[in-house]
Symmetry: C2
Subunit: 320 residues, 2 copies
């Protein structure tokens, strides 16, 4: 089975065995700003390399399954809109890939795929009601109810990064205000560090980027925090607090048994998760707060392709 993850920064193409082992993989940068046609060419390029390297021809594959960053029309196989893929608006990706390779293609939203992957093979094994959150440049969510992926009435469920937690907060690229993503994502961490340094605060970060403040990323902030830089620690504590507030909302709504946190910012581990857990214990309903475990993801970048493969195996129905 061939599975793809089309993200805002990278394309990952893998061959997956029936039991969820990745046999071979091919990774390319998305270079999303070049627009859909070039990105799709690179996607094809990754698939072609994988086929060639494996000495495979298409008759040996049942299908190609794609997890894509964006809002997906599941019935039509269309990427309707993607904040992280400029120019992607109503792109019929499923049919385009099917025409190119002549085999069946499945298309799903990346966070839904990652939730399925983690549930079957990763940190969510055995859990029935779980929420997967990817905290990286943006914040995405995938919902598993009763062991099944939940995509909502028209495939758009799980936009947990775009719940308002500060009604008077900054305007988000989605058009909403005070979204969790504006306050607790990797982009938010980098933005807040840059803002405070530009306002005159001192931090080891300034030296780390040779005074090129715009070059500060969440990774730099994380590194500085680990090296005991006070400003970096403050900024991460603030993001962790906001993340905790978002988790309170999730816990009070879903009373899940498990919340899995993946994505780049989650690599901070307990520096991010422990304060967030404390907010949940302090502010969520006690019964629900005590019931939930909040854990890091286990599969890293592979969660999406593994979930996409499961989706294809269940013929496009959310797999149990």
């Amino acid at each position: 089975m061939l599975a793809l993850d089309l993200g805002g920064t990278k394309i990952l193409a893998v061959l997956v065995s029936r039991d969820g082992h990745i046999i071979d993989s091919e990774r390319r940068p998305t270079l999303a700003t070049e627009g859909p046609p070039r990105v799709i060419e690179r996607l094809f390029g990754a698939v072609d390399s994988l086929l060639e390297r494996g000495g495979l021809d298409l008759s040996q594959l049942d299908s190609i399954s794609i997890a894509a960053a964006g809002a997906i029309n599941y019935e039509e196989g269309i990427v309707t809109l993607s904040p992280n893929l400029p120019g992607w608006r109503n792109i019929p990706l499923r049919d385009m890939v099917r025409e190119r390779y002549g085999i069946e293609v499945f298309l799903m939203r990346d966070a839904n795929a990652a939730a399925l992957g983690e549930q079957r093979y990763g940190a969510g094994r055995g859990a029935h009601h779980l929420i997967y959150l990817t905290v990286s440049t943006g914040i995405g969510g995938g919902i598993i109810i009763d062991g099944k992926g939940y995509i909502g009435h028209s495939g758009g469920a799980g936009e947990i990064g775009h719940i308002t937690i500060d009604v008077n907060g900054p305007v988000c690229s989605c058009g909403n205000k005070g979204c969790l993503e504006m306050l607790a994502s990797g982009a938010a961490v980098a933005r807040e560090a840059r803002r405070r340094i530009t306002a005159g605060e001192r931090s080891a970060l300034t030296e780390m980027v040779s005074s090129n403040i715009e070059a500060i990323t969440a990774e730099y902030v994380g590194a500085a925090a680990r090296a005991n830089d006070r400003l970096a620690q403050d900024v991460i504590a603030q993001a962790a607090n906001y993340l905790g507030v978002g988790l309170v909302n999730i816990v009070n709504i879903f009373n899940p048994e498990l919340v899995i946190i993946g994505g780049g910012l989650a690599k901070l581990g307990d520096l991010l998760l422990e304060p967030a857990r404390q907010v949940v214990m302090a502010r969520a309903f006690p019964m629900a707060a005590q019931a939930v475990r909040i854990v890091p993801a286990a599969l890293g970048d592979d969660a999406g392709v593994l979930g996409a493969a499961l989706f294809a195996r269940s013929r496009g129905e959310p797999p149990k």
Copy 2:
């Protein structure tokens, strides 16, 4: 079948036919401040009256089913905590009613019951993914996924009134901050009107309550708004805006096909719902915003008992 709704202000006991018709009903004030033993006595009194008036004996009933305002431990049949029922903490209501009447008893959370009732008999007929919100003194929620009531891992799902929409907002009785309930409930409407009048603003409300500002309720504010009182209209518009923000969160998370709004404040109709719908159209993800209908509840106070009856009929499993 005998079904009960134990709320913060009233107890409703009904006899329900198998096809969901209410044959007879008995209503009593809860007088919740008198504490659990007296409230439970009144609950028994309502049941006894209903049995007596119908000339029924217990052998003619399969079971008694109760929808209660509060957090419920479904497995043990316990009201673990109830913000609207002072003193209710780990009250084994199911066993107490079973001991009294000697027949099977089911216990569930009231908003979950109302969601089931509306889905089967009311505004939610035919919908598979729906959210029920009761907007009265507080705000409660019930979630229907794939046609089934969703109660979460330990029975606590649906506390949609207690999602933070203003991270810097006022402290809620639940311990969280800036909860939807603190900003968009009937209590919030009354509180805000009282605050503004106490601060010196003029309103027809002052005369309506003979200058006894503490007597202002959401009902008065609604009546004043309909009579074109500017302050009352402002206060309701503000609550409707906050309600809209809460609905944006629900729509972005669940992508539901339907949101049903019940409870006392919903009697304001489009004065409340229309501005809230506009916030959803302006701020939620377009695909999800376009997919959802936001409608008033159809069953009024009967939704809870009808849902409780369905719950009993499915032997305590969330009915399809």
